[in-house]
């Protein structure tokens, strides 16, 4: 029961609102800039470079991952707003399956996050990276899959919360740790054992790692990717399917 009309109109609504809200667009793009140039720029004075990769270049895939993480989760968490302000009822009483609603929301997250990731991707020449067209396409494709998986994960989270007070709980206890333990700021292989295990359970880790694999494929040693591209992609694709079905189930319940 996949209703394309519902998916289309849900995505169209989110996109329209996103374009209309200039402040949201600016603030979501300001965050990666701050991290990349202020933290990355400062830290690269402290952290020795790898073979071919400087610290600011090393965190670039992580910053892309962060952009995707925040915008996907934010897009999905808007379900809580929709519940709070009543619009969700309009969708829930419509003759469309809950699964289509979830697919529509996840697709919205995918479209918006990929769009933002592409903008951040345009910064690569400014930090001295060289990417060929194939690498650029690779980054965009991985961004899309990762966005979809994280948006579905966000819907799953949103289905457990009723009011927007829970927003800060989700941000502080789920999203921020996910970011820090994804290998975005430091290689997973350098982490202490316990944190390494937690990192390996984090979906974002594989997304960031896939991006590292594509952005600096020839790097070995400290700053190289931690897993193979095949492993990364298998994990993200599997998780997208798993999350979207779990979110669908979580959404379907009726009292």
């Amino acid at each position: 029961m996949i209703e394309t009309n519902a998916i289309y109109v849900i995505v169209a609504r989110e996109f329209k609102k996103f374009i209309r809200e200039k402040s949201r667009l600016i603030s979501t793009l300001a965050r990666p800039l701050l991290w990349l140039f202020l933290i990355g720029g400062g830290m690269s004075r402290l952290v020795p470079a790898g073979e071919n990769v400087s610290y600011i270049q090393f965190i670039f895939p992580g910053i892309l991952g962060m952009t995707i993480l925040f915008s996907s989760i934010f897009s999905s968490i808007s379900i809580i707003w929709d519940k709070e302000f009543g619009f969700m009822k309009e969708i829930l009483v419509a003759p469309v399956s809950r699964f289509s609603v979830v697919l529509g929301k996840a697709t919205s997250g995918m479209v918006l996050s990929t769009f933002q990731a592409v903008i951040v991707l345009c910064l690569f020449p400014f930090i001295g990276l060289r990417l060929d067209p194939l690498q650029i396409i690779g980054v965009i494709l991985v961004s899309a899959v990762l966005s979809f998986a994280l948006a579905a994960f966000g819907i799953l989270l949103a289905s457990f919360y009723e009011s927007y007070e829970s927003f800060s709980v989700i941000m502080n206890f789920i999203v921020m740790p996910m970011f820090f333990l994804s290998g975005a700021m430091y290689p997973v292989k350098l982490l202490p054992e316990v944190l390494k295990i937690v990192s390996k359970l984090n979906p974002l880790t594989y997304g960031v790692d896939a991006l590292k694999n594509i952005v600096f494929p020839y790097e070995t040693g400290r700053m190289s990717a931690d897993f193979s591209l095949f492993t990364d992609l298998s994990v993200i694709l599997t998780l997208s399917v798993v999350f979207v079905f779990m979110a669908g189930k979580a959404f379907e319940r009726k009292q």
Partner: protein, 328 residues
């Protein structure tokens, strides 16, 4: 044939019974009023009818489709205006209608025409491209009614449609709602706790604490009160009540600092009352029966007497229960 059919419907939230063995039928093209104080079970019933809640037991049918098992067919057949606005305030009026049209698979060829017609019908054509957050309460309600009709439903649910509106918008909205069955061939199911608004209904069911305590046309219900009601304020209400009971063999009740008496012929009754207990009477007034009196007669309390009543407590309990157990 009935458009809506409800049989022995029960809905429990934990130990609280929000809807308790409710049965009724609504004919096609009728305006049906579901009346009761806040927390009586009106919204719960609507939520079951529009497939948002599953009943604990009992059956509900719309257009002969089972609300629990054939939810998709039921959803196609109904339009709903919820108690709280369910518009997207960051979209324009037209965009809200467009969203709805897509969601209900209105044919591409018809979409624009239906939306333009709907906007004209609710008198919002010149505001069509303004964001909904700039609209007044009355405009939002009208837009929601228009949206509920875009997919040509068989039944339109209106849950407290006039709640929070000023008197002017309220009477405008009612005038508008009464034209719907003829113009759009819909059956209307509305809830309200403003008794005087229910006068426009063809049929009414009064619900209190989850049970239907009376139903019929407004005229039939008013007969329950037994005609006019005479209110008296006296120097000693207890004594006056006793006297009236003894001398006239009429039923007397007390409410606030007034006693009241039902009489088929109020005009003739007042002089007789004054003759007997006149020196103790401080004031007299008479009221033609209203639906409020019907409710008062049936339950011994005013419908809008809400502060800290048991119903409010139940409503709060149901809400918090649903919040806590939403995941079950």
């Amino acid at each position: 044939m009935s458009m809506i059919q409800v049989e022995n419907l029960v809905k429990k939230f934990g130990t609280i019974t929000a809807v308790d063995d409710v049965s009724f039928e609504v004919d096609e093209g009728a305006i049906f009023g579901f009346l009761g104080p806040n927390g009586a079970g009106k919204t719960t019933t609507i939520n079951i009818l529009c497939t948002l809640l599953a009943p604990t037991s009992g059956k509900a049918y719309i257009n002969s489709y089972d609300c629990d098992r054939e939810s998709s067919k039921v959803r196609n057949a109904i339009g709903i205006v919820f108690q709280d606005s369910s518009l997207d305030k960051d979209l324009t009026a037209r965009e809200n209608l467009m969203f709805h049209a897509y969601l209900y698979r209105v044919e591409k060829a018809e979409r624009k025409q239906r939306i333009d017609d709907a906007l004209r019908f609710v008198d919002l054509t010149d505001r069509a491209d303004d964001l909904v957050k700039k609209f007044s309460g009355g405009m939002k309600r009208r837009l929601e009614v228009a949206r509920g009709l875009i997919h040509r439903p068989k039944v339109l649910f209106l849950d407290e449609p006039t709640l929070g509106l000023d008197p002017q918008s309220r009477s405008n909205l009612w005038e508008f709602i009464t034209t719907l069955p003829k113009l759009h061939k819909v059956t209307i199911f509305m809830t309200t706790h403003y008794m005087e608004e229910a006068e426009v209904c063809d049929k009414i069911a009064i619900i209190d604490r989850g049970k239907i305590i009376a139903s019929g046309t407004p005229a039939e219900l008013k007969k329950i009160v037994g005609g006019d009601v005479i209110y008296l304020r006296t120097t000693d209400n207890k004594k006056a009540m006793g006297d009236v009971k003894r001398l006239f063999d009429m039923e007397v009740s007390e409410k606030d600092d007034e006693i009241f008496i039902s009489s088929m012929k109020g005009e003739a009754c007042i002089p007789a009352l004054i003759r007997e207990i006149g020196e103790r009477v401080l004031s007299v007034r008479m009221q033609r029966p209203t639906l409020n009196d019907v409710f008062l007669k049936l339950t011994g309390k005013e419908i809008r007497e809400q502060n800290g009543t048991a119903q409010d407590d139940v409503k709060a309990m149901v809400r918090s229960y649903r919040r806590r157990h939403d995941r079950d």
